[in-house]
Symmetry: C4
Subunit: 270 residues, 4 copies
Amino acid sequence: MRGLDPRIHVLLEPIRTKEGVDGRDKPGHDGFHVPERDMTHDDLKQTMIWAGKVLVDEGQDDFTRGHISVRVPGDPSRFYMKPHSIGLDEITMDNILTIGLDGNVVAGTAKRHSEVYIHSEIFKARADVACVLHTHPPYSIALSATGRPMKAYSQPGALFHDSLGLYDDTINLIRSPETGAGVARALGPRRAVLLKNHGVVVTGASIEEVVISTIMLENAAMIQMIAEAAGTPAPEFPLADIQKLKHDISRPEQFKVNFDYLVRRAKRRG
Amino acid sequence: MRGLDPRIHVLLEPIRTKEGVDGRDKPGHDGFHVPERDMTHDDLKQTMIWAGKVLVDEGQDDFTRGHISVRVPGDPSRFYMKPHSIGLDEITMDNILTIGLDGNVVAGTAKRHSEVYIHSEIFKARADVACVLHTHPPYSIALSATGRPMKAYSQPGALFHDSLGLYDDTINLIRSPETGAGVARALGPRRAVLLKNHGVVVTGASIEEVVISTIMLENAAMIQMIAEAAGTPAPEFPLADIQKLKHDISRPEQFKVNFDYLVRRAKRRG
Amino acid sequence: MRGLDPRIHVLLEPIRTKEGVDGRDKPGHDGFHVPERDMTHDDLKQTMIWAGKVLVDEGQDDFTRGHISVRVPGDPSRFYMKPHSIGLDEITMDNILTIGLDGNVVAGTAKRHSEVYIHSEIFKARADVACVLHTHPPYSIALSATGRPMKAYSQPGALFHDSLGLYDDTINLIRSPETGAGVARALGPRRAVLLKNHGVVVTGASIEEVVISTIMLENAAMIQMIAEAAGTPAPEFPLADIQKLKHDISRPEQFKVNFDYLVRRAKRRG
Amino acid sequence: MRGLDPRIHVLLEPIRTKEGVDGRDKPGHDGFHVPERDMTHDDLKQTMIWAGKVLVDEGQDDFTRGHISVRVPGDPSRFYMKPHSIGLDEITMDNILTIGLDGNVVAGTAKRHSEVYIHSEIFKARADVACVLHTHPPYSIALSATGRPMKAYSQPGALFHDSLGLYDDTINLIRSPETGAGVARALGPRRAVLLKNHGVVVTGASIEEVVISTIMLENAAMIQMIAEAAGTPAPEFPLADIQKLKHDISRPEQFKVNFDYLVRRAKRRG
């Protein structure tokens, strides 16, 4: 009953690629590698459905706001995306949209999020990105409002060291290809970008990586906000020390192990 | 089981009116338009019942304190209101009171909240208001205690930019037509008013709008309190940028979409 | 199903006394009146059982620490008290102890809390007190650590205006009649006393009053800590204004109305 | 239904030893005594299983990160440990590993945590330690980032007075015997050590002691962060006063009483 659920184990295979994860170690470049896995489209959609439920369990919801997308395997010019008007925990096989890099719906009848261009422009600019998530977590937004950089006051903070852009062109919704391209530029080669006074956009090589690193981003922001409120924190560790940790906790299989755990927990909680 | 519940979809029709939402764009004026919808009184009461459950789920409860009212369709001189002595999640078809603009009970046998005059005086002063809510959310009260204005450090903060009055005549309960009129004056043409060291009063063109914007107000206050505790925040975006966002996220149908989601979630959680 | 549970309504009658509540209005004196109600001892014990469950639901638990007592009706020299080694939500008709004003167990076989002298010494010193509660809520402890007074930055803060003593003789457990008497002296004629860097002791004329005002104390401390972290708050309202509110929200029937609601909610949640 | 569950009562006997708990009173030395109890290995593993569920209930989880170990009764050169890839609430009789002081797996097929050396090196250095726990609680990490010492602003803070080391060699994972030995040195004779910008390591004479004191450490850190954010706290109590409390709340049976309560609560919540 409370033991492991064997069904989830078949969802995804380990996603380390033959080429390794080079690119990651270059300062300020996260260089994801989209895994070459033989995964059916239905498996991928099912993973997106569970991702949504996990994100709500972890407090990443803001009503029906927030959206997740994943590039279609075998067709890098298209992506699956959560529709408008439902919560992240209400994605189903039937309501997932298929969308092109111009932001137009290719398949599906549900309403499209007007901020689709966050996703389409990042998929255009970053061939290494397989998944994009946009949410409104409160501590990350507070960090963006301070205008100060993420510090490595925690291990999750190290994950985002030199990997967190800042988009500060506007507080407005990202409703045009032009502003979407602005977000993609502010993201650059990094893992994530803070939309100042608005929210976060997190990218990765898999749904699992994006969900786990988004939760880690909020955790890191929370710890930084608490530490800074209590006074001036002690200095961070030396750069090389932080970079080594960042490398070690960026391994694809770790994101999957932790994501799978959250899915099992969501299933146990019903 | 976890899919959408089709029953909630019939509760309300989209509430955008023929006249549009003019008035909203004028600085410091929210100019709601009560929608012309063919909604039965029972439907409206049912929406109020779910509003109460959603507000408790979202942490807006303070024991049995806090009260919500909605103007009677077709009779602008009367409103339905939650009674005293029960929680926001205990409103029923039978205990809802019908009250006149003088604050006297017209129909119903339950006890009236002594702060009824918050509602009656706002309904008198603001023909564009269809719903009034008063709650005691902690971050909004802390913001009121700082004496500083709400900043647009988040998108919900933009919703209340130049739309949040401050009532600071007294910390006391609003138990007379005179003090109720004072709250209405401090509200002015705005969406909401902070009662200093006491709570919030939020208004709107529908129950859905008021519930969602009250939750957004507390979210904005939380982000501001976190950011200000961690040091001096960065400057806000330019006024025109904030005003454009405020306009975009004030659309009536968005409040309904998000409210309906919270109702579905409350039903799933049982 | 989600409606009111009629069973709880018979637990207690309204507790306003013939004499009114004079004494309350004198600055720094809360002057409770133990209500003259015809309540069976079993009813009172049942109320204490529900009080414990409500306190855990509201986050007042700290493992098995924390204890509640109520004076035996008709025998002011004895009180019923939660035993050691169980949580506040594990009180039963069988494990409640009967204890004398010397702190010795008169009836019952469960282990006594070594801090029993908080209760016995307050019952000795304050004939107007019918119930004593000691818990370890985090924001109230943080407030005690600041050494600053409770401010009326919220309506619950007004309840404790000039009604909150500070005991700062020791951080240690209150395990002797002498230290218990020290707590009673620091309490004086007030509603509650902060035990510096330790916890709170709250008193009242009924279990209902004590449970609700303890939750209000923590709420007031939370709001004050948030507001002070974000900068220097605005001035409080004038003293007379605060005192009027304090009087209005100290009425015995209000504590009962709100307590009964929390009991109904605990029953609904199972 | 909500009463006590008699089954848990047989898990462990009181663990006060004939020799008392000397060593504890020496400043900066916690001197645990591994209890001489006749406990089966299965009982001990079962206690570890419940410990994991309790830790998740109390918010000590960070995905599948965090690990707990307990020394094998009768064989001080080996310890049982939670495996990699599962949550703290997913430990089972079958997946627990048996590991030697060199960090190598002796029995079991599950994957080992690469940070096993935290455990093996502490077990080597501290014959008095029977249990080691490593977690990532946010307020404790924030405290570590401030670089300031734990203060006795609460009773749990007193438990860690002069009993909390700081490891600041690296932010990295502790993946070698050498770095594990560094953590053991930073721990020294104390109860616990903060791994700066990383997490906590807590030790004790029993699983129960370690679980309860880890929760107390986070509670103490939370209260300190709140108090320091709100301004400069008042001075602590005199050293002798703090040390007396520390002695009184370090008694082994208290940890067991409180742990057993959390287990009963976890069982009631399902």
